[in-house]
């Protein structure tokens, strides 16, 4: 309507009638025509009066999005810069009309809630009251959560079992002390103390003078302490040496102590000898063993005399002491000028050793002394034997309580030596009788060589002497002119004669004529005779039984007999050394079931007797066998009586 165009040319006709009336108003012709169509133009009183030219002026109006009422120069204080700053972007929105609606989306929370409420309200309005309540309750029950829908899971970690541990420390050590505190005690003690102080003052004054002496004494003491250190070390070293030896020879030591040959049960009467340690010394290689003796006090200690049996091969000699605890090295070593032929250890004073030498000397060694020299030597004294000493035996102390021993030697004399202070005093006991074949005028020159000597265990005045000619003479210390008895024992040299340790009448002898003979001293002929195929060099009784004895021969065999078990044969004949070695000595250990044998190489071999060789008589049931020497004597007596 507002578009000015010449629409109404037709209109203009109509309008023209009107226009004539509005020309004065300055309106658009169209507008004016429209205005003029129906109404008569009424002019309000406050309308602007404009000229026609002004009315026809076209005014352009532009529509903008900006809000004309919005402020354009809003200023805000900026605290950061401390001044007013104009805000650039001003809100251009002008709200013309606002109306809050009350529509809620049916799927939203509120919508659902409202719908539920609506349903309730509708239902509640329509039903009776009890039904209402029931339904309400049912709904409530449904709403309650079900107990059985719960899933409970539980687990328990592994707890270690509790354990009680308690401990008690050692309380500090306590001691008791008691005393009395009285006035007089106190006074006495003070007086004593004063006296002591006075004495020490005097000493101090005296000591100032002796300062120099003290210094020298101090030096001495220091040297001694040094020695002590070394000697203390020696003791420790010795123990270690023994331990090492024990470890090395552990199996031997075990055998020695515990081994019992079980196969003896199957062997009937026979027994065996189990070789244990072998004792040898480097420097004694060229010498042969000539004497053996066990120590009575220390059952593992034994003495070995080394020398030579051959006349032509005489050199030095040695006296060695070995202990079973140390088989590698001797405990004591003594060098002698000539070969040792015999030795004996004193029964009670086991540090005294009497030694008989090839050159006729006798010597006594004291093991307690550290020196290498004998404490007594018959070198210097007169009366020494002119020929080799074949056997020495200690005797009981004489009336003046001097030690003494008796020796027999190849010069035919039996001499008693007494240790008086620093020398040996000799007493001739008896001279061996000359044999018949020597003419009378040579009696003094050619002696009867005595080769063996033994004293009776109980009646120690009675003794036996064996000679080179095979005779055994029984003598007594109280008879110096004559022998009591003479036994034609052997055809050749009697190498050993020994009394039985239990039976008072029995002795054994052995000789180079291959025989071992057992005698009853009352009878002229032997009770038992054994032939052992080679020269018998030594024979010994067992200390535990009166019927057991062992012999060694030059073919290196040891023969063990038990007359109680077998009267004719040896229970054991065992070669114990290598070929061509001769055995010269045998000794039983007084306590342990072992024997030692010495050979011509200077070695000593120890052997353990198997159980068969150590049999004691069987106990009859219900009878208490009396133990002790009486049993042994009775055993022997039985044997003897059967043969008489």
């Amino acid at each position: 309507m507002s578009v000015p165009h010449k629409v109404g040319s037709v209109k203009s006709k109509q309008v023209s009638s009107f226009v004539m009336q509005d020309e004065e108003e300055g309106l658009d012709t169209a507008e004016g025509e429209e205005w003029m169509q129906g109404k008569t133009l009424v002019k309000p009183p406050d309308q602007l009066d404009l000229t026609e030219a002004e009315l026809n002026e076209e005014i352009t109006r532009v529509l903008k999005a900006s809000n004309p009422n919005a402020p354009q120069n809003v200023v805000r204080y900026s605290f950061k810069e401390g001044c007013y700053k104009p805000i650039v972007f001003v809100d251009q929105m002008a709200i013309h009309f606002e109306l809050e609606g009350n529509l809620v989306h049916k799927d939203s929370d509120e919508g659902r809630r409202l719908m539920a409420k609506q349903a309730e309200v509708d239902d509640g309005g329509g039903d009776e009251r009890p039904d209402n309540v029931a339904i309400k309750a049912g709904k409530r029950e449904q709403k309650l959560t079900n107990q059985f829908n719960f899933n409970e899971r539980a687990s328990q970690t592994l707890n270690n079992a509790p354990r009680d541990i308690s401990c008690q420390t050692e309380p500090p050590p306590r001691a008791n002390f008691s005393a009395t505190a009285n006035q007089w005690e106190i006074y006495d003690f003070y007086v004593e103390e004063l006296q002591r102080r006075e004495k020490s003052k005097e000493k101090h004054e005296g000591q100032f003078l002796n300062k120099e002496e003290d210094k020298s004494k101090k030096k001495m003491i220091q040297a001694e302490t040094q020695n002590d250190d070394i000697s203390q070390l020696a003791k420790v070293v010795k123990i270690i040496e023994r331990m090492v030896n024990q470890n090395i020879f552990d199996d031997v030591a075990q055998d020695f102590m515990y081994f019992e040959d079980a196969s003896d049960e199957f062997r009937g009467e026979k027994g065996t000898l189990l070789p244990l340690w072998t004792f040898q010394y480097d420097k004694a290689k060229s010498l042969s063993v000539t004497a053996l003796c066990w120590n009575h006090k220390y059952n593992d200690l034994f003495a070995v005399g080394l020398g030579s049996h051959e006349f032509t091969q005489q050199g030095g000699g040695m006296l060695l002491f070995y202990t079973l605890k140390n088989p590698s090295y001797p405990e004591f070593i003594f060098n002698t000028a000539s070969g040792v032929m015999c030795l004996d250890i004193h029964e009670h004073l086991s540090y005294l050793v009497a030694v008989g030498l090839y050159d006729g000397c006798v010597a006594v060694y004291n093991l307690k002394k550290k020196t290498d020299q004998p404490i007594y030597n018959s070198r210097a004294s007169s009366g020494k034997h002119t020929s080799a000493v074949m056997q020495v035996k200690w005797q009981k102390d004489d009336l003046d309580s001097n030690h003494n021993f008796i020796s027999v030697s190849a010069d035919g004399r039996v001499v008693s030596w007494t240790l008086v202070k620093h020398e040996l005093v000799f007493t001739d006991i008896i001279k061996l009788p000359v044999i018949d074949t020597i003419p009378d005028d040579l009696n003094d020159v050619i002696p009867t060589v005595g080769t063996s000597l033994d004293f009776h265990k109980q009646k120690d005045y009675s003794f036996l002497v064996g000679t080179e000619h095979g005779k055994i003479h029984k003598g007594s210390k109280y008879y110096s002119s004559k022998f009591l008895e003479k036994y034609d024992a052997h055809f050749m040299n009697v190498t050993r004669v020994r009394w039985n340790p239990f039976h008072p009448d029995v002795f054994i002898s052995c000789g180079w004529d291959w025989m071992v003979k057992i005698w009853d001293q009352t009878m002229k002929s032997p009770v038992f005779t054994f032939e052992l195929k080679t020269s018998v060099t030594d024979v010994a009784w067992a200390p535990y039984s009166s019927t057991v004895f062992a012999a060694v021969t030059t073919d290196g065999k040891v023969h063990v007999f038990d007359l109680n078990i077998n009267k004719y044969e040896a229970l054991c004949q065992q070669k114990v050394v290598s070929k061509k070695t001769k055995l010269f000595n045998i000794e039983f250990n007084p306590v342990h079931p072992i024997i030692i044998v010495g050979d011509d190489r200077g070695h000593v071999t120890s052997l353990k007797l198997s159980p068969n060789l150590r049999k004691k008589p069987k106990e009859k049931k219900g009878q208490d066998l009396p133990k002790g020497p009486e049993v042994e004597i009775a055993k022997m007596e039985q044997l003897l009586s059967s043969l008489r």
Binding site: A175, S178, A181
Partner: protein, 106 residues
């Protein structure tokens, strides 16, 4: 008169000569012994008339220094028999007539 004079002199001498602290028996180590002796002498001199206080002082000091628990007896005439921890006993005389016995036993 001379005699009484001498007697008095002797008494004075005796007091002078025999007042020093004298250890009768101990098995304490050296350091401990010296310290304890000093302490006893101090205590006895401080509480010359009151044995109980002296003993109290000694006992408390010993407890602090060497650990519990110590026992102390001071007196002029008594006999005793005690069990003590080894190396923790001191028995000494002091002042000519006072005997002090200190031992530890918990």
């Amino acid at each position: 008169m001379a005699e009484t004079g001498d007697g008095k002199k002797e008494d004075a001498d005796y007091k002078r000569l025999q007042s020093f602290p004298l250890i009768r028996h101990t098995d304490m180590p050296e350091e401990m012994r010296v310290e304890t002796m000093e302490l006893c002498v101090t205590a006895c001199e401080k509480f010359a008339s009151n044995n109980e206080s002296a003993a109290k002082m000694i006992k408390e000091s010993m407890d602090k220094k060497f650990g519990s628990s110590w026992h102390v007896v001071i007196g002029e005439g008594f006999g005793f028999e005690v069990s003590h921890e080894v190396r923790n006993l001191l028995y000494m005389f002091f002042g000519g007539s006072l005997a002090v016995c200190v031992w530890k036993c918990s």
